[in-house]
């Protein structure tokens, strides 16, 4: 804790001296106390590291561009597709009640597949098994919209994820990946998001790399970005060959990183730069 504050103070001095565009906001990033045995003392959402303008955009349901996805998917929720003649609604009814809390607790163990599945995978399992419809491609607007819509039903609820029982080897695998240095730049997730969060790196303040806001509307891309695309981007930037979206490697990483953010409120659809 002490070290963090010293770091922040030093950061503030440096910032003042190089006269970047930062404001004083970073001195008071709010977080939640982490449970005992956690890596952080305080768990902080990526929201707190963004500019006032970006945060205001996220907070305004009418202006936040992520809500267009929520609206689009609300229609698809009711749309019959596939040879079973079913929509999501045929099985689940109103999403506002049936999907409440679901997106806050992903990835979850799937007894049939004997592995954890995330929200994108769960949606596609429903499509292929229960609707007999084509699964949506990763990064397609349809899949990202629906993921956003379902996760939005948990807006404000704390991230909870089960890491024991059959999940524990997956948790360990994700942790291993998190601390492994990759790529020509030889950096691990932890090099940036654990050791250097709060610091300025080129155009960005590094956050703790939390996942509570995903899918997130990225201003740079002008669209919603699913979590595994962000993982890919971070690996690509250190000149590493990223794992494949929805691979076991990224599933394990998603589980582990969700645990690092345990208790944070779901912010989907968040806005990031």
């Amino acid at each position: 804790m002490l070290q963090r504050y010293v770091g922040l103070a030093a950061a503030a001095v440096v910032l003042a001296s190089v006269a970047t565009c930062a404001s004083a906001q970073e001195a008071e990033r709010k977080g939640i106390p982490a449970p005992p045995g956690h890596v952080f003392k305080t768990i902080i959402s990526g929201y707190e590291f963004r500019s006032k303008e970006t945060r205001a955009l996220q907070d305004d349901d009418l202006e936040n561009p992520g809500f267009l996805a929520v609206e689009r998917a609300a229609d698809i929720w009711k749309k019959v597709e596939g040879s079973e003649g079913k929509s999501c609604m045929s099985c689940h009814g109103e999403a506002e009640t049936s999907m409440k809390g679901v997106g806050a607790a992903m990835p979850k163990w799937d007894d049939k597949l004997k592995k954890p599945v995330n929200l994108e995978q769960r949606i596609n399992i429903c499509r292929s098994e229960h609707m007999k419809a084509e699964p949506w491609k990763f990064k397609s607007q349809e899949l990202t919209d629906m993921t956003t819509f379902v996760r939005y039903q948990s807006h404000g609820m704390p991230v909870t994820v089960k890491t024991d029982g059959p999940m524990s080897p997956w948790f360990e695998r994700g942790k291993q990946t998190y601390y492994t240095r990759f790529g020509q730049l030889d950096l691990a997730c932890a090099s940036c998001h654990e050791r250097n969060n709060g610091k300025f790196m080129r155009a960005d303040f590094l956050s703790q790399g939390q996942t509570n806001g995903f899918p997130t509307y990225r201003l740079r891309d002008q669209r919603l970005v699913p979590l595994h695309e962000r993982f890919e981007g971070c690996m690509f930037d250190v000149r590493a060959e990223p794992f494949k979206p929805l691979s076991d490697d990224f599933l394990a990483l998603e589980l582990y990183v969700a645990w690092r953010g345990i208790g944070l409120p779901v912010e989907t659809p968040s806005v990031r730069n």
């Binding site: 001296s17 190089v18 000149r239």
Partner: protein, 147 residues
């Protein structure tokens, strides 16, 4: 027609050199590299460019330098490099840039002249160091002006 051919040729060269690269060996003498990697001194002017260019040194992503104030976005990962020429000898600076983990154990600063022992490197960078020997010498010449 001409462009795809040129691109294909460039790719061949790239792949060729990637696999022909031997692992780089550094002549480390008491935590420093006394010998120039090219046998001759670098150019401070060229080094400043390498220092600033994102696809080359991108040193400013992590370090601050008062003299480069007019450039945007000085990073905070690493210490300010003001006066660094007074803190280290040229030979020490060369090792810090070439392979900083030999001096600062477990540092986040990348090795700029190392081409093996890395994990999941993107194919276009396999077997290559981030900077060439000449670029490292240029950066050293630039760092020597920071006194």
């Amino acid at each position: 027609m001409r462009r795809p051919l040129a691109a294909a040729f460039a790719l061949c060269l790239m792949v060729g050199s990637a696999y022909a690269q031997e692992p780089i060996k550094l002549d480390v003498v008491s935590d420093s590299l006394p010998k120039s990697l090219t046998g001759s001194p670098g150019s401070a002017e060229a080094g400043k460019k390498v220092f600033l260019t994102r696809t080359l040194g991108n040193c400013l992503a992590c370090h601050q330098v008062t003299r480069l104030k007019s450039e945007e976005f000085h990073g905070e990962f690493g210490p300010s490099l003001d006066g660094v020429a007074g803190r280290y000898t040229e030979a020490q600076l060369r090792l810090i840039v070439a392979d900083p983990k030999r001096i600062f154990t477990d540092t986040v600063m990348p090795a700029f002249f190392k081409n093996d022992g890395l994990s999941r490197v993107r194919p276009e960078f396999v077997g290559k160091s981030i900077l060439t020997a000449a670029q490292v010498e240029d950066v050293i010449a630039f760092l020597k002006t920071l006194n």
